[in-house]
Symmetry: C3
């Protein structure tokens, strides 16, 4: 530590750096003077936030030290970090005052140009590779992939609509921005824009703060005031940014629990989830790289889909990926059918044969030019299975995935049958869909059709992929796939008779 | 300890007190001779119960010591505790033999007048403030608020009814007491009354025990044999009465998990719940007062709604409240609409404009004289937001609650639309409601109407209030609000056509 | 340790045994040379699997040492264990090369006859009593109890069917083997048969492995290549076989979470589950015998249903049972009605008065000759209640179970009412059931009838048995029992009118 201070002294950086005692009395940390100034008020004003940060690695480690680590142990991926940032720990000012020119939400705050919304662009200073990979992740585009797709947008507008019953008729009004932000965009991300400044009385007297649209929000595809997409805090919760939090399955449950994407529910009852729940207390969630066997003996979401996994000796089992689909051959999530993974993170560019922005036709045929091919699927299967093979034999793994492939086929088949019932209803004028220039998602029978793929087929597939047992049967699984299809069919029959 | 014994000796209390070695060998505790006698049999008879108590603070701390603590650190709120109780730890006899005159369930047991049902009145000996606050809590009146409200009672009687199918007709019989106790009253609380004594063979020979109605029960609004209301053990589980248990979210899940009040489900997937699940192992759940930042960096139910929260330096962020609505401006729970919080804990006294015991009209207009006004709501928002501000900026907090206010409006609107469809059905004679002097809750279409507010509007609001993401969309949220309204409307249309 | 080696030397066993340093550097273990050879490759190939085993008791304890334990402390139940196995720890070869003659899946692997599927027969070498008890457990017969029952088989075939919509008609095809394996048989168990050998390129060159049907699978009633039934790994997860995992509730959640058997959901929100979640971190999950009070102060699934429970002094509260119904008077699970527990683990032999393989008539009358009588029920109640009485008074316990008995009556009554509506529909030709030689499970109204008993009556009963509160009311409980019955009745009324 003394040596480091000497180096800093030599570099003439001492003006901006001084050694202070943080909350933890035994430890001395190198705080920039700007961060010290932040803390001088905020330790009192927002003690929970500050303490969370003080428990963090950011509060204890300078980028200079971080860069000295070996390649596999390193948590920063940028090869070069701007010199003024390397000698102090990563504090308030280091993130909240970066790139002020780009940040439209930057404002004057006690003599500093501060911005509220820290973005992937800010984090990229030290974590450039993660930011680049994430930008190729469907999630980064989650706002536009939903809201810029005219088909999906009609679903959003119907789900979030407000209704009234006037003159014996149901009337719907389009959702307001607050409702969308509280609903779909909570996870997909809002557009955060600055709408001027507003002053307000504070404990420190009158102060001005920016007025932001769509705030607060930490959706995975947030559109930020600096033009970047996404929020690292979606998974790496502020202000601890703990790798433990990101690796534990709870962080994923925030958006991946529900009948549409029941990944967390399925994980919970899977053998993997059982073992994590029973024995995870003995796992090491902070070791980098994450060593299969040594650090953990049952995987979490991150282990299979994101983390750098090695054997005990350091041999790489799987590369870290914030693109998160390097190990995903299929997109199990049904829109309307499970399909080969899209090539581009921007799925609003996809066109099926009918010219609609959907990855498949209504018959399930893939919009092939926009989806990965068999060769890429094989590679991704291989990437994923390397993780499985840390604990399972090839026979086991092959058997598991053969079953998943069959489940993809049969659930797509059950979706096709429902779609054909729906199409018959549209054709016979019993309901009004796209061909009738109407919203295909707003009638009761259409909502049953949606549940067929969005809830029941999805649940069955997730259960198959991650050993979710009853989520493939009675817990939104095949029981409902079959029951719902039966009800749709009987509805068509009854309705047809009446005409 | 020696000094304490000397004091006790001087006070001539030694006859009733002796020093014995409890299960934990390193610690000596002061047990009353009565409690020793209880333990002499029950340590063998009910080892789990006794050990739970032996792990407790009650088993280690005398009220005299407890009273020496500083005001913020103190867990007893009574300024004076009767002298005979101060010198011994809080054992079996201290609670189960108190106030025998008031306890109609008191009975002779090995030479002592013992009562089975320990009540808030008993606990008030040391915890008077908690008892007084809790008495002003809606929960304390949960039995009467449900069962003494003739509107809600019809719902109870229909939900718990037993049905038979005779002469091609469905016939319903009113629920029996055991069914109500197993259903609604499990949480709301039963009436516990003594129905004589019954003798039975035991390991100690023939003994008599009281026969109690509605037993066992630990519902929050239990009507006790001593006339008091509630059960402290609803949250402070016997016989450890651990503050850790009360502060962890699981205890609340007992009654607040389900489609009607999905608070725990929502918490689980919220960022707060994620962080608690991932890092709660490092929190201090036993510190009093509970220090934001130092003791915890993500809140549980208790942190936001109940506990005394301070900063690290002891500055009070939020006062402890067992009234539990000091920080609640709105009653999100829809009966039929979300509404300003009731003034009185006894909600059966409320009358809306139509004279019904409901906090709103069927149109959603509030029964204003019985509900808190805007000024009180502002104060409660402030109380609640003080907790939020320990970790979040005012901009963040304001944005969050503005969105919640909008969600209250839109979910009430979606409930109104459904109520208007329902009213049209009643008016057109397609169903029979209150105006037809019928139960408005027993027909299939009425049950759909109930789910609109009791399940879907509630879920959407809880999700908005606590960042529950999919619980506001596909997991019983807006998707169902909209789908259900659509189905009700199509039913009305179809049904109307047939006539 | 030295002494043990001396003993082994004297016994001339050293040829097969050598002392090696396992992964944990501080500990020396006795590995057979065969296991050493397995590890020499698999420590690299499947590090997660190997480390899981290395953390296990199997990896540290020889059968010889295990047999020296006192009767209550002992985890092996076999009185004699074959000599060649007693001196080494229980490693790869000890299990995977046992009984090669019986194992049709045994194959040549690097000079050893290895089998993939370790079975109860293999485990019985050391755990003979557990294997014998488990063989009398319904679970061991879970495959046949489902698939060899022609009534239930029709349900399976309908739930897992694939559908298509051709010529305006819904057409169903019977499920394929992979779908059944991914659905019902995931928990019930598959038939694992050898279909020849297949060679494949591996890191060690070309090798041959058996081709297995229904693999992977760890269902409780798996039909194994050696003819035995079941999989110990269903609960005792490979390769740690940790008693902690089996005693924690998560392992049960794998199959007992879902609307049909919501045991885990109910446990989670019960007081028992709350306390486990809040305080389980302080319980001792590895102590044998498991001491109520000392080791735990709230039960898990295993505590009530499986484990050997004693008081602190060693007095037996409940005997260990892998039959798992020694403490179960009722089979709460409704097929179609809750009923007295079957006598035989093979339930496909049951015949009701109508000659159907069901434990009750359609009226609910029990197929008495095949079910336990009142005397046996009383004994099982006593066995179960001994566990309750470790923490609760007899008054409490009696009150609890009287309520459960009433809930069994009322839920069976609500099932009866639904069955009578269904029967009326069949009789009137509005649907086609067994009497019409049709599948009674495939029409929409029939599916509503199924949900009455399979989802709602079951949920209500599980909630009553384990204090699940809302699971007996709004979370798939009485609300749905009543709503569903209402809907069925209105359907019958409407449908009847049209004819």
């Amino acid at each position: 530590m003394r040596k480091l201070i000497a180096v800093l002294l030599a570099a003439g950086l001492l003006a901006a750096v001084s050694v202070v005692t943080a909350a933890s009395p035994k430890k001395q940390t190198l705080l920039s003077s700007a961060t010290q100034e932040c803390l001088s008020c905020h330790r009192e004003l927002t003690p929970g936030l500050v303490q969370d940060w003080e428990n963090s690695r950011h509060a204890r480690m300078t980028p200079r030290e971080a860069l000295k680590k070996g390649k596999l142990e390193r948590r920063v991926s940028s090869e070069k970090i701007p010199a003024p940032l390397t000698g102090t720990v990563v504090g308030c000012a280091e993130c909240h005052t970066q790139n002020p020119a780009k940040h439209k939400d930057s404002y004057e705050h006690n003599g500093y140009q501060v911005h509220t919304v820290v973005t992937p662009e800010d984090c990229a200073t030290c974590h450039v590779q993660e930011r680049e990979q994430y930008d190729q992740n469907l999630m980064a585009r989650a706002y536009g992939n939903l809201m810029n797709n005219p088909v999906y947008l009609r679903l959003v507008e119907d789900v979030n609509a407000s209704g009234s019953f006037k003159d014996k008729r149901l009337q719907l009004t389009k959702p307001d921005a607050a409702t969308n932000a509280d609903s779909c965009l909570f996870c997909h991300g809002t557009i955060v824009e600055v709408k001027g400044l507003k002053s307000r009385e504070t404990a420190q007297g009158e102060m001005s703060f920016p007025v932001l649209t769509g705030w607060p929000n930490q959706g995975v595809g947030r559109v930020n005031p600096d033009g970047s997409l996404g929020s690292c805090a979606a998974c790496h919760s502020r202000h601890g940014f703990s790798i433990e939090v990101a690796r534990k399955p709870y962080t994923c449950s925030k958006c991946h629990k529900g009948p549409d994407v029941p990944a967390y529910q399925v994980y919970e009852v899977s053998r993997h989830g059982n073992l994590y729940a029973a024995q995870g207390k003995d796992f090491d969630f902070k070791d980098v790289p994450w060593k299969a066997g040594k650090d953990f003996t049952a995987p979490t979401c991150a282990a299979c889909h994101v983390s750098l996994i090695t054997g005990e000796g350091g041999q790489v089992v799987a590369e870290r990926t914030h693109r998160m689909n390097d190990r995903l051959p299929w997109r199990l999530f049904g829109l309307i059918y499970a399909h080969s993974h899209p090539k581009s993170a921007d799925t609003s560019i996809i066109r099926n044969k009918a010219g609609l922005p959907l990855p498949t036709d209504f018959s399930g045929a893939e919009a092939a030019p926009f989806l990965i091919d068999e060769k890429e699927k094989a590679q991704r299967y291989k990437n994923l299975q390397q993780v499985c093979l840390s604990c399972h034999s090839q026979t086991w793994v092959s058997g598991h995935f053969q079953r998943l492939e069959q489940t993809i086929r049969t659930t797509n088949q059950m979706t096709l049958a429902a779609t054909e019932v729906m199409t018959a209803a549209w054709d016979q004028g019993l309901a009004r869909g796209l061909a009738q220039k109407a919203n295909p998602f707003d009638e009761a029978i259409e909502k049953k059709w949606i549940e067929q793929w969005l809830f029941f087929a999805n649940s069955t597939r997730f259960a198959s992929a991650m050993m979710g047992a009853d989520y493939g049967v009675f817990a939104n699984g095949r029981w409902y796939l079959r029951r719902n299809l039966q009800e749709m069919n009987e509805w068509l029959w009854e309705k047809g008779k009446k005409r």
